[in-house]
Symmetry: C2
Subunit: 398 residues, 2 copies
Amino acid sequence: MEDRLEVLKGRQACEILDELGVDCWLIWVRETDQIVDPVLRFVYGGAFVWQTALLLTREGERIAIAGTHDAIGIPEGLFDRIEIYDEGISAKLRDVMSALDPASIAINVSESDVASDGMTHGMYQLLMRYMEGTPYADRLISSEELIGKLRGRKLPSEVKRIREAVRLTEEIFAEQFADLAVGQSEREIQGRFRQSMVARGLGDAWAADHNPAVDAGPDKEFGHGGPSDRLTCAGHLLHFDFGVNSNGYCSDLQRMIFFGAKEGIPEEVQRAFDAVLGAIDAAAEALRPGVPGHAIDAIARDFVTNLGYEEYKHALGHQVGRNAHDGGVILGPRWERYGDAVAGEVEVGNVFTLELNVRTEAYGQVSLEEDVLVTEAGSEFLSTQQRELICLPPGRPA
Amino acid sequence: MEDRLEVLKGRQACEILDELGVDCWLIWVRETDQIVDPVLRFVYGGAFVWQTALLLTREGERIAIAGTHDAIGIPEGLFDRIEIYDEGISAKLRDVMSALDPASIAINVSESDVASDGMTHGMYQLLMRYMEGTPYADRLISSEELIGKLRGRKLPSEVKRIREAVRLTEEIFAEQFADLAVGQSEREIQGRFRQSMVARGLGDAWAADHNPAVDAGPDKEFGHGGPSDRLTCAGHLLHFDFGVNSNGYCSDLQRMIFFGAKEGIPEEVQRAFDAVLGAIDAAAEALRPGVPGHAIDAIARDFVTNLGYEEYKHALGHQVGRNAHDGGVILGPRWERYGDAVAGEVEVGNVFTLELNVRTEAYGQVSLEEDVLVTEAGSEFLSTQQRELICLPPGRPA
C-alpha cells in the first residue's frame, strides 16, 4: 500500500515536471535518521545513511545513486536504475548528470515554503563543490512550485487517508466530550485524549506535548503551548486544537465547548462564535481553484474586523496532508513571515484548514478550525463543521 | 529531568563557545514538526512553528526570538529573555544582533557533519537577506566544532542514559536468544525483538524497518536493509544489528550467533570471528583522548588486512548519543564520504561504536559492534563485549 502510493506520487512528480517544463528533480540527502528532507517520503519510504541522490525526470525516469549499504535496502520497482558507490558519490553523480544533461534541475530550496526546503546548507555547498567544472551548478532552480503541486494535489488515496484521520479525530472528540465535566484540569483532559489515540494506534499530527492543545477559561492564550493545571469551570469556555496522524496523513481541528445550558451562553460569547463561524462560511464559499491564497484570507479577516473584532494573528488556513502544516500555498495575509506562500493559487485536490479566532472581553478567545477539500466546483468540508457551541451541563460528576 | 538536561547542555554550549573564542551561537529554525535541526533538542525540548532564533553567548546569556504563538509554549528557566514578534522576525533579530554585536556567530552549517548541518539552504538565504546592511553576515562561521564538542562530551547524566539503553538492548538480546531456533525467518525474529521493545516502552535508534537488522546465512549482504523470509539453518551464522532509544539516548550493537555446537564451528568462521574481535580489541586499546579519528580506524583496518582479509567498507566507529549516528568525530578512513569528520581528535566523554566485518568464503560476513566510552585513562566498554560466538543448539523446537 505504502509502496504503491510512493510509486504514484513519483509518477505524479514526473508529470508535474513536464507540465512546468523542468527537466529533472534532484533529492539530495544523507543520514535521514538525523535530519530528513520532508519530501523524501513522498517518493521513498525508507532511510539513507550515506549521501544519496534521487533523480526524477520529466520523461518519467527515476534514478537512485546510493552507497553500498543503503542500496541493498531499496525496494524493487521504485527506481529504474540504482547506481552504487563505495568511497564517494561525486563521480557517479557527475556521470549521471552528464548523461541526462538537464537544462533545468529543481532542488529542494525555498525561503517561503518549509516543505520545499529540505536541503541543508552544508549539502548545498557539497553539491556546488561536486558540480564544479560542470555546467549544472548554473542550471539549478527551486523545486518550490513542483513540491507545492505534488503535496497540494492530493490523489484520491491521499484524500481517503485524510478523511479517515478526520473521522478518527471526530470519533475521539465525541468519545471524550461525553466524559468532560467541570473541575477537570487541562492536563487530565489531554491525558485522556492521548489514551484514546494510543488505543486506536494513532500518531500525532504535531508535537505530543500540545496535542491536543486544551485551553480552559478566559486567561489562556491559544497557541503552541501545552496544557496546564487550569480547571474547567461552569460558565467558561473550553477550547481544543487536535490532530492525529493516521496511516501517514493528518487531521487538524479546533472545537469549542461551553460549560452551561444553551440558554446560558453569554451574548458576548455567542456573538464571537457567530463571527468565527460566519468568517469560515464566507471563506469556504469563496474557496475554489484559481484564487490566490491571500484573497481567501482577506475575506475572513475583513469579515471579523467589519464586526469590530481585532484581526487574528495568523493565517486563515494552511494545507494538511502528510504534515499538519503541509507547505505550499497558504491562505494568509501578506506578512513577511509568510513570504511568497500566500501569492500562490488554490488548486483542485488541495486540503486546507479554515481557522481563526476572535477575542471576547470576559471569556477569552473563541476559535474554530475545519478541514476542507478544494473541488472543481468549489470546496467540500471533510470535517463535520461545528456550527453551534457544544454545551455541556456543568456540575456533571467528574 | 528533560528540562534539567537542556539547561545543562545550554550551559555547556556557552562554556564551549568561550573555550573556542566564539562570541555567539545562533540556532535558526521554523516549522520543526516538518524538518528539525538535530541540535535543537539539546537546548530546547519543544517545537517551533514560525521562524525562531535562539542565541547563546560565550558570556552565558540565552535569548529566544519567537512568534507570539510559539513564545507562549516556551517553559520558564530556559532563556534569560524572550523577544516576541507578530508579522516578521527580521527587525527584532537585527536589534538583538546589534545589541550583542558579536565578532563571530556560529551557525549550523557543515559539509562533513550532518549533526552540525541543521540549517536549510532556504533558511540560510533568509538569514542573509535579513542581515543585509549589517556587518553580521560577514561574521558567520560554522558551528561544527561547537556542536561536535557539545554532542561529543557527554555529561554524566547522558552517559547514564546511554548505559541504560545498552543494558536494555542486552536484556532483549538475552531474552530473544533463548527463543531462537533453526527454521525461523528473519522477519519472524525481527517481529519478536520489536515486541520486546514495545513491552519495555523503548523507541528505535534508527528506522524501524531494519531495527534490528537480522541476517541469516551466508548470502545476505549486511547493511541498512530489512529482514527477509530467509530461514535460520543448522551450521549457519545469524547476525543482528540492534539499537534502542531509551529516554532520548541510543545504543547500537551487533551480535553473531552460530547454529551448532561450539566444537562444530568451522575453522574459517572461528578465524574470521577472531579477526574481528582482535581488531576491536586493538582499536579499544588505542582509543584515548587526543588521538585523531582516522588513526584508530587505521589500527583495526590494518589488523584485518594484515590477516589477509579485504578491508571493511565503512568507518570503524561513529559516536552514539541522542542519535545512533551522533555526528562529530568519526573513527574512519580518509574517504570523500567522511569529509573532515575523521580528522578530529577523540575527547573524554565521547561514546563510540567499534564495529567491523570480515568476509568468509562459505559462511558470509562476520560482524561485531560494541559501544565504548572514552575516559581520561583510555576507554571503557559500555557493552558486555561479545568475545565468543554464541552457539545455539540446532534443531531446538521453534
